[in-house]
C-alpha cells in the first residue's frame, strides 16, 4: 500500500466512511463524517499521530483531503 492509499484508508476509518470511497479530491462537504465530531476526532489524531496541534481557527483552513495531506506533509512529525 503506498502512502496515498494509507492516508485515504486512515481518513476513511477516521470519518467512518466506506473503504475505497474517498479520493484526494474529496472535499469536506462530500464527507458526511467530517462534521463537528469528526473534526474533534481529526484534531485528536493529528495531535497524537503527527504532533500537529491545529491553532484556533486552523480547522477552517482545511477544505479537502488534499489540504489535510499537505498539512501533514508540511508540519507532521510521525511519533515513534
Amino acid at each position: 500500500m503506498n502512502d496515498e492509499a494509507k492516508f485515504l484508508a486512515w481518513c476513511e476509518t477516521l470519518f467512518n466512511e466506506e473503504a475505497g470511497s474517498m479520493s484526494m479530491e474529496s472535499s469536506r462537504e462530500d464527507i458526511e463524517g467530517w462534521d463537528s465530531m469528526g473534526s474533534l476526532l481529526l484534531m485528536a489524531d493529528l495531535d497524537e499521530m503527527f504532533d500537529i496541534q491545529l491553532g484556533e481557527g486552523g480547522l477552517e483552513a482545511l477544505t479537502s483531503l488534499a489540504d489535510l495531506a499537505a498539512l501533514i506533509k508540511e508540519k507532521g512529525t510521525v511519533k515513534p
Binding site: S36, M37, L40, A44, E48, Q53, L54, E56
Partner: protein, 348 residues
C-alpha cells in the same frame, strides 16, 4: 506570570448539590435522530444530567451545599470571615447572588461576601483567592461555586444541549499552619472571548426574547484546540514550579468537559486514568463546579492518609487555572440532591 504558593490553606471539606430532576439523554430527548443521539452521547460520555427547574438557581444549589458542609464540619455561620460565590449564572444582575446565601444561612454582617465572575476555571481561582485571604489574617473562608448551564443551551444545539447539567458546591478552607502549602497557576487569553459566549442578555447586546443570541455559542473545535494546548502546558508548569512529578499527585481533578477530550488529555499528559475521576456519565458537564463534583463523586469518601490533589479548570474566557493542595482524611466530601428552598432557609 500568575503563579503563587501560599501557606496556611487547609481544606476542611467539600460539598456538592445537584437538582433532583434527572434527564436520561438516551430516552428523554424527543425529536432527535437516534443515530446522531447515540453518537453524541457516546463521544461526550454523558448519559444523565441533573437540571434545575424554573424556580431554582445556582445560588440555591450552593446554599444547600454550604449548609450541609457547615453541618458536617461543625462550623457556625458566625465564625466564617468570608463567603465567595464563583458563578456566571447569577440570580440577578445585582445584587451579588451570594448575598441571598448570606441572608438565608444567617451569616453575620462581619462576613465579607462577594461574587466572582468566572466559569470553568473558577474553582482554583476561588481557592487561590481564599488562600490569599487566609494568608492575610482571616481564619475561615467558604468558596461556593455554582452554575446552571442547562438554562443557557438552545434546545436545537445538540452539541451543548445534551452536554450540560447543573450543580452547586461549597469548599471550606481555614487558616492552617506553615505545612499547609498550596500552589496556584492562573491564566487568561481574552482573544478567545467569543469561543464560548452568550452574546445577548447583557448590556453589550440586547436581543428579543427567544433569540438564538440569548443562548450559548460554543466553537467546539476551537475550544478543543485551546484545551490541547493549554492543559498540558499548565500541568507541566505546575509540576516544574513545585518540583513535583506526575507520581507525586494522588488525584488529578480536571474540569469535566467532555469524555473524549478528557481521555485524550490524560493520554497526552501521561496521566493514569485511575488517578483521574471522570463523572460525566451521571452528571454531564456542569461547568466549573465539575471540579468539586469530581471530588465528592470521584474520590474515596474514606481515606487513610492525606492525599495531594491537582485541580484544573479550563474554558470560557478563555481562562484556565491549576491548583495543587492537600486533602486530609478528616475533610468530609458530601453530596446531596436539592430538596427545595424550605429546608435550607434559616429558621427565624
Amino acid at each position: 506570570m500568575a503563579f503563587c504558593s501560599t501557606r496556611n490553606l487547609k481544606v476542611r471539606g467539600v460539598a456538592t448539590c445537584v437538582p433532583s430532576k434527572r434527564i436520561n439523554n438516551s430516552t428523554d430527548i424527543p425529536n432527535m435522530d437516534p443515530a446522531e443521539l447515540r453518537k453524541v452521547v457516546a463521544m461526550a460520555g454523558v448519559k444523565y444530567r441533573h437540571v434545575v427547574d424554573e424556580s431554582t438557581t445556582a445560588s440555591d444549589l450552593c446554599r444547600q451545599a454550604c449548609s450541609e458542609l457547615m453541618e458536617a464540619i461543625g462550623w457556625d455561620a458566625s465564625t466564617v470571615d468570608a463567603l465567595i460565590l464563583v458563578t456566571q449564572s447569577p440570580d440577578y444582575f445585582l445584587p451579588s447572588s451570594v448575598c441571598l446565601v448570606h441572608r438565608d444561612l444567617g451569616f453575620p454582617t462581619s462576613t465579607a461576601t462577594f461574587d466572582l465572575g468566572l466559569g470553568c476555571s473558577g474553582h482554583a481561582y476561588g481557592m487561590w483567592l481564599a488562600g490569599m485571604m487566609l494568608s492575610s489574617g482571616l481564619s475561615r473562608v467558604i468558596v461556593l461555586h455554582g452554575e446552571t448551564p442547562s438554562l443557557f443551551c438552545h434546545p436545537e444545539d445538540h452539541a451543548t444541549f445534551l452536554l450540560f447539567g447543573d450543580a452547586g458546591s461549597a469548599t471550606a478552607m481555614e487558616r492552617g499552619d506553615d505545612s499547609d502549602t498550596a500552589h496556584f497557576s492562573l491564566h487568561t487569553d481574552g482573544k478567545g472571548f467569543d469561543e464560548l459566549i452568550i452574546p445577548g442578555r447583557a448590556f453589550r447586546g440586547t436581543y428579543p426574547a427567544g433569540s438564538r443570541e440569548n443562548y450559548l455559542y460554543m466553537k467546539g473545535p476551537d475550544i478543543f484546540a485551546f484545551s490541547l494546548k493549554r492543559v498540558p502546558e499548565v500541568i507541566s508548569e505546575m509540576l516544574e514550579r513545585t518540583g513535583l512529578g506526575i507520581e507525586d499527585i494522588d488525584h488529578f481533578i480536571l474540569h469535566q468537559s467532555n469524555q473524549f477530550i478528557m481521555r485524550h488529555l490524560a493520554k497526552k499528559c501521561a496521566i493514569d486514568l485511575e488517578k483521574m475521576p471522570i463523572i460525566l456519565e451521571q452528571f454531564g458537564n456542569v461547568g466549573g463546579p465539575s471540579v468539586p463534583l469530581a471530588m465528592t463523586k470521584g474520590l474515596p469518601l474514606e481515606r487513610d492518609r492525606t492525599v495531594r490533589l491537582l485541580s484544573l479548570g479550563y474554558g470560557v474566557g478563555l481562562s484556565w487555572s491549576c491548583g495543587v493542595f492537600d486533602l486530609s482524611p478528616d475533610a468530609p466530601l458530601v453530596h446531596s440532591l436539592y430538596r427545595g428552598p424550605s429546608e435550607n432557609l434559616e429558621k427565624s
